[in-house]
């Protein structure tokens, strides 16, 4: 029962974060929230007896992806600077 409540909470948080990441004006917040969704998803995977997936999601989904996002964003921002 407790796991169900936890999973519901996790689910609600994930949905909220994904709404934020889609609708928030600031792109950095959006990227971070998307990473957060991934991270919480990996907790959910743990609950569903999938440690392998959890590890992968944490390392790749929330870690590397977010990182590449920021790298590109950074790059784009710099270009904007160059232009102005």
């Amino acid at each position: 029962m407790i796991w169900i409540i936890i999973s519901v909470v996790l689910g609600v948080v994930m949905i909220t974060m994904s709404v934020i990441s889609i609708h928030h004006k600031k792109i950095t917040i959006a990227i971070l929230s998307a990473g957060g969704v991934s991270l919480i998803a990996s907790i959910l995977y743990l609950l569903m007896a999938a440690p392998d997936v959890a590890l992968t999601e944490a390392a790749i989904g929330s870690g590397l992806t977010t990182f590449i996002f920021f790298y590109v964003l950074n790059k784009i921002k710099k270009q904007k600077h160059v232009k102005e």
Binding site: W3, G11, S18, I27, S38, A49, P51, T56, L64, I76
Partner: protein, 123 residues
């Protein structure tokens, strides 16, 4: 309430994420936001996949303790969807990285991130 398990909640969450992702992709104008939405879409699919393989009250398919090594089929969750998700996540990373590089290059061309500004080929 008794019939509801983690897998159903996860399944629901997965579907909602997937729909939110599609919503983001078709409603957001910013290319980066579209890509963010795409990652959420992918996460949704992955959650669905794992949920499909889950069986209540069973453990992870890692036979590290001796009691798991007999009658294993009765004791573990389905390892196959998990294997599929691993693949799916890695593919997702590849696609996302490539999309981001596209976005970068597109920005370099036109100095804008609005998808509406890239309508050079049409009709």
């Amino acid at each position: 309430m008794q019939n509801i398990g983690i897998e159903q909640i996860s399944l629901a969450v997965g579907f909602i994420l997937l729909l939110l992702g599609i919503w983001g992709m078709i409603s957001q104008k910013n290319i980066l936001k579209i890509i963010v939405s795409f990652t959420i879409f992918e996460t949704g699919i992955n959650v669905i996949l794992v949920a499909i393989g889950y069986i209540r009250n069973k453990t992870a398919p890692i036979l590290d303790s001796p009691e798991l090594q007999t009658d294993t089929a009765e004791k573990i969750v389905d390892p196959l969807p998990q294997a599929l998700v691993l693949t799916s996540i890695v593919i997702g990373l590849g696609v996302t990285a490539l999309l981001l590089v596209y976005a970068l290059k597109m920005y370099k061309q036109k100095k804008t991130l609005l998808i509406n500004d890239y309508k050079d080929t049409k009709w």
